[in-house]
């Protein structure tokens, strides 16, 4: 095998590849047909999804089959996509923003980048779980929980109140994900419910008590499940939709005491971007998400709490009504910014 021969072959294929890629990209970067409703087969939609591809791609395929609309999806973190949308402004190719968290939607809405949704859609969701100004609609709920190592503890040894985690007995044993939007929503709720000083006290107490910092919820659950860390603050569905049957996992869940901040329920949601105002495809997609099919998908495939209709909650976890979630407006951007500033000042970010 002579190096020059191989190299030449590689160069040739690379050049071909460059041409191919350029061709593909020009084809796919054509602006989606939003102005004119063309023939049925031309209907397309561009979605930015802060929700994981593993979880929502099948749902989007279902929608494509049902509607005949061709959906292109960009997957990334919710906050990342929010930042990207702010950077893109009105030049964004996105028509719908599907977010893992209300805070990211609030950030985009605050810049005036979301349209107002029709009240037929937003009125379907209890006001506690959706935006107050109809800039986005809540889709599903996820409960804040403590995952614990069931080989070391029984459920009654795990605090139902997050304040007890500041006890020296938990020194170095608690994992948290400060960069995660759900954790931040949880701190926002704590600020709103218990006051700024108390929230700061909790964060400082966690840091002083040697809280272990993780990058993502999935990694924290994995560490608890492997016995590497004793307990971790996460959302219920990371556990409920685990790779293995969650009932058999070493990590088990403790739900917060009803009415306490530990019982918080976060929401996922969707909004239509301002440049796509009047797009029938975007509207149809959001309608599908709040339809019975869409909600059933979330219930059965991602183990989240449906927010619309009278569907039962996901298997293996307590029903939504029993959680005793506190009523907090999580969509206020100014509030989220203050939360992030506080977490940063404390030195957890």
């Amino acid at each position: 095998m002579t190096a020059p021969g191989r190299t030449a072959a590689f160069f040739a294929s690379a050049v071909a590849a460059a041409m191919l890629l350029t061709a593909c990209s020009t084809a796919s970067s054509e602006p989606a047909a939003t102005e004119t409703v063309a023939a049925d087969e031309d209907r397309t939609l561009v979605v930015y999804s802060g929700r994981d591809e593993e979880l929502v791609a099948p749902l989007i395929e279902q929608f494509e089959d049902a509607s005949g609309i061709d959906v292109e999806v960009r997957y990334a973190g919710s906050t990342e996509l929010a930042a990207q949308l702010l950077e893109e402004g009105s030049a964004t190719p996105a028509q719908v923003f599907l977010s893992q968290d209300s805070g990211a939607l609030g950030a985009v809405a605050a810049e005036g980048l979301l349209t107002t949704l029709p009240s037929e859609i937003t009125s379907l969701v209890p006001s506690k779980y959706t935006s107050r100004d109809d800039s986005w609609v809540g889709l599903t709920g996820r409960a804040r929980v403590i995952a614990y190592d069931s080989e070391k503890y029984t459920a009654d040894q795990i605090p139902g109140d997050v304040w007890q985690l500041l006890d020296p007995a938990w020194q170095g044993k608690v994992g948290i994900v400060p960069a995660n939007a759900s954790f931040q929503s949880f701190i926002t709720a704590m600020r709103v419910q218990e006051g700024e000083d108390r929230a700061r006290e909790w964060l400082e107490g966690m840091k002083a008590n040697g809280a272990q910092i993780f990058g993502r919820n999935g990694e924290l659950l994995e560490a608890v499940n492997a016995g590497a860390v004793d307990v971790g603050l996460i959302n219920h569905y990371y556990w409920a939709r685990s790779e293995q049957d969650p009932a058999t996992l070493r990590a088990q869940l403790k739900f917060g005491d009803p009415g306490s901040i530990g019982a918080l329920v976060n929401v996922t949601g969707a909004g239509i971007l301002a440049p796509a105002e009047g797009s029938s495809e975007a509207l149809e997609f959001v309608e599908y998400l709040v339809s019975n099919e869409g909600q059933t998908y979330f219930l059965e495939e991602t183990y989240e709490y449906p927010l619309i209709g009278d569907l039962e909650g996901p298997a293996g976890v307590p029903p939504l009504a029993d959680l005793g979630a506190p009523d907090v407006d999580l969509s206020q951007l100014s509030s989220l910014q203050n939360t992030v500033a506080m977490i940063t000042e404390v030195g957890l970010l």
Binding site: M1, T2, A3, P4, T7, F10, F11, A14, V15, A17, A18, L21, T22, S25, S28, S29, V46, D52, E54, L55, V73, R74, Y75, A76, T79, E80, A82, A83, E87, E88, A91, A107, P178, A179, N180, A181, Q184, I213, F214, G215, R216, N217, G218, E219, E222, A226, A228, Y238, R241, S242, E243, Q244, D245, Q337, V340, I343, T344, E345, G347, L349
Partner: protein
């Protein structure tokens, strides 16, 4: 002129970063920069970079010497072992080790994983330098009564050190900008800090300010390397020595040598593959379809090949100039490219989002913008390899060609490029493998619907599907083996002649 243009392109993300950092006022920026958290992260990063660089320098030189200068059986095998770890992205190494031994976390394991996966960045250029080193001098030293080790340290080592130090710089820059493995092994650095600030906050000036601290760090590293390398970069390339033979050792020493080389490769490549295969078996849900995997593999290979080619073509002029004429401007262009290597991919990506929307909106989210990001991120990998390869082409060869009446282009193509080909291939492979492993910029800039193996693996781990992520990790390593073997082949050719 071209050097200036390229330097400007490379500097654009840094400029954008400064604009962003100062966007919310100098006082805010200073508050972020000098808070205790940033200093803490800076200290962590410094410690990590020093430990990894020192270990890679020593280990890399040792591996290179053992590979080239010791007569081991199965000669073609050893350069392959030296190159194999290039196929393992550091975050895949970290993922594999921590999924096998979940208790592993913190500085120690991170240093080991990073060293095991980045040491070829030192080994490869050092093998190249050793193959071309002037062994006549060492022989002279020997006849003058110097011991073998004394001759090595006083004569051979100074000849290969510039290459080893340049490789170590790449290791250090990679280490400070690496995100995946510190995140998985939970050791907080400036880069994980930038990520947390970026993904956790809408305040993008905070992550930009922290990135600038990283750039400053990189600047110190680049200047330090320049000092260390000094003027030796241009050291007499006129006397290329050929036909030098590897030294036979006793049976025991040979065994020890082979075992050592084998162990490094086994820990760096084989162990992660085994750990991931075991983990694979635990997977029950979220498995990838064959079509997804095939598409991601093809995309990964294409992006690596195209970005490698574009980068090498753009880097050639600077490599040539840097090797032949040490003007201040060229040195600047070269240094700038090192700086961008130290900026986390996500920061370059964000800067490019803003730049491409402002300058060429049509290119946004196109393959072209993604390739541009790769070029910015990996330019220094190509420059390093090209400069040292071209510096070793004796100018006398070119003069002879010119005296024979050949034009400058013909001379360059037939003499310079051909002689420096192993270095050019090495640069291409280094860029291609780095691109195939790249994650954060790919996530942000890829055209809609385009998945690479790295983004596939990332999406599995983000939902905690470690079992489903494992086969993708295995595939990512296997795909990386192709260029790694190519590199090994050119190294072997180079070391043999």
């Amino acid at each position: 002129m071209l050097a200036v243009v390229i330097a400007v392109i490379m500097l654009a993300p840094v400029a954008q970063l400064i604009v962003r950092a100062l966007g919310s006022g100098g006082r805010h920026a200073a508050a972020i920069l000098f808070r205790q958290r940033t200093l803490e992260l800076f200290g962590n990063t410094l410690l990590l970079a020093v430990l990894v660089s020192a270990a890679c320098l020593v280990l890399g030189v040792a591996i290179a010497v053992a590979t080239v200068r010791v007569r081991l059986p199965f000669r073609p095998l050893w350069p392959v072992l030296a190159c194999l770890p290039l196929a393992v992205p550091s975050f895949v190494g970290a993922f594999a080790w921590s999924s096998a031994l979940p208790q592993l976390h913190g500085l120690g394991p991170l240093v080991i994983v990073t060293v095991l996966t980045t040491v070829p960045l030192v080994t490869v250029p050092t093998i190249g330098a050793l193959a071309l080193a002037d062994h006549g001098l060492a022989d002279v030293a020997r006849t003058l009564g110097r011991s073998r080790s004394s001759a090595f340290f006083t004569v051979t080592l100074p000849q290969i050190l510039p290459a080893a130090v340049t490789g170590t710089l790449l290791v250090a820059l990679y280490t400070i900008s690496d995100f995946g493995s510190p995140a998985i092994l939970r050791y907080e650095t400036l880069t994980t800090g930038v990520y947390a600030l970026f993904s956790g906050g809408i305040d993008r000036s905070a992550s930009a300010v922290t990135s600038l601290a990283l750039v400053a760090f990189a600047l110190v590293l680049v200047l330090g390397e320049r000092r260390l390398r000094g003027d030796r970069a241009g050291a007499d390339p006129g006397s290329v020595q050929r036909g030098q033979t590897a030294r036979p050792l006793g049976t025991l020493s040979t065994l020890a040598c082979g075992a050592g080389l084998g162990l490094v490769a086994a820990l760096g490549v084989l162990a992660p593959l085994i750990a991931m295969t075991v983990r694979w078996l635990s997977s029950e849900r979220f498995g990838s379809t064959m079509e997804d995997l095939a598409a991601a593999t093809v995309t990964t290979l294409l992006l690596g090949a195209v970005a490698g080619t574009v980068t090498v073509v753009l880097a050639l002029p600077i490599g040539v100039l840097a090797a032949r004429y040490r003007s201040r401007l060229i040195a600047l262009a070269e240094s700038v490219s090192y700086l961008t290597h130290a900026i986390p991919g996500v920061v370059v990506a964000l800067a490019l989002v803003a730049l491409s929307l402002a300058l060429v909106p049509a290119a946004y989210q196109s393959a072209a913008a993604l390739i541009a990001a790769y070029v910015v991120l990996c330019f220094s990998l190509a420059i390093g390899a090209l400069r040292s390869a071209i510096a070793r082409v004796p100018p006398r060869l070119e003069e002879v060609s010119r005296t024979l009446g050949h034009g400058p282009f013909f001379t360059w193509w037939r003499v310079t490029a051909r002689t420096a080909l192993p270095g050019i291939v090495a640069g291409w492979v280094l860029v291609a493998t780095a691109v195939m492993k790249e994650l954060p910029a790919t996530l942000m800039l890829r055209p809609i619907g385009v998945d690479t193996l790295a983004t596939e693996l990332w999406s599995k781990t983000s939902i905690g599907a470690y079992g489903a992520a494992a086969p993708i990790g295995v595939l990512l390593v296997l795909v990386g083996l192709v260029p790694a073997m190519m590199l090994a082949a050119t190294l072997y050719e180079g070391a043999r002649r």
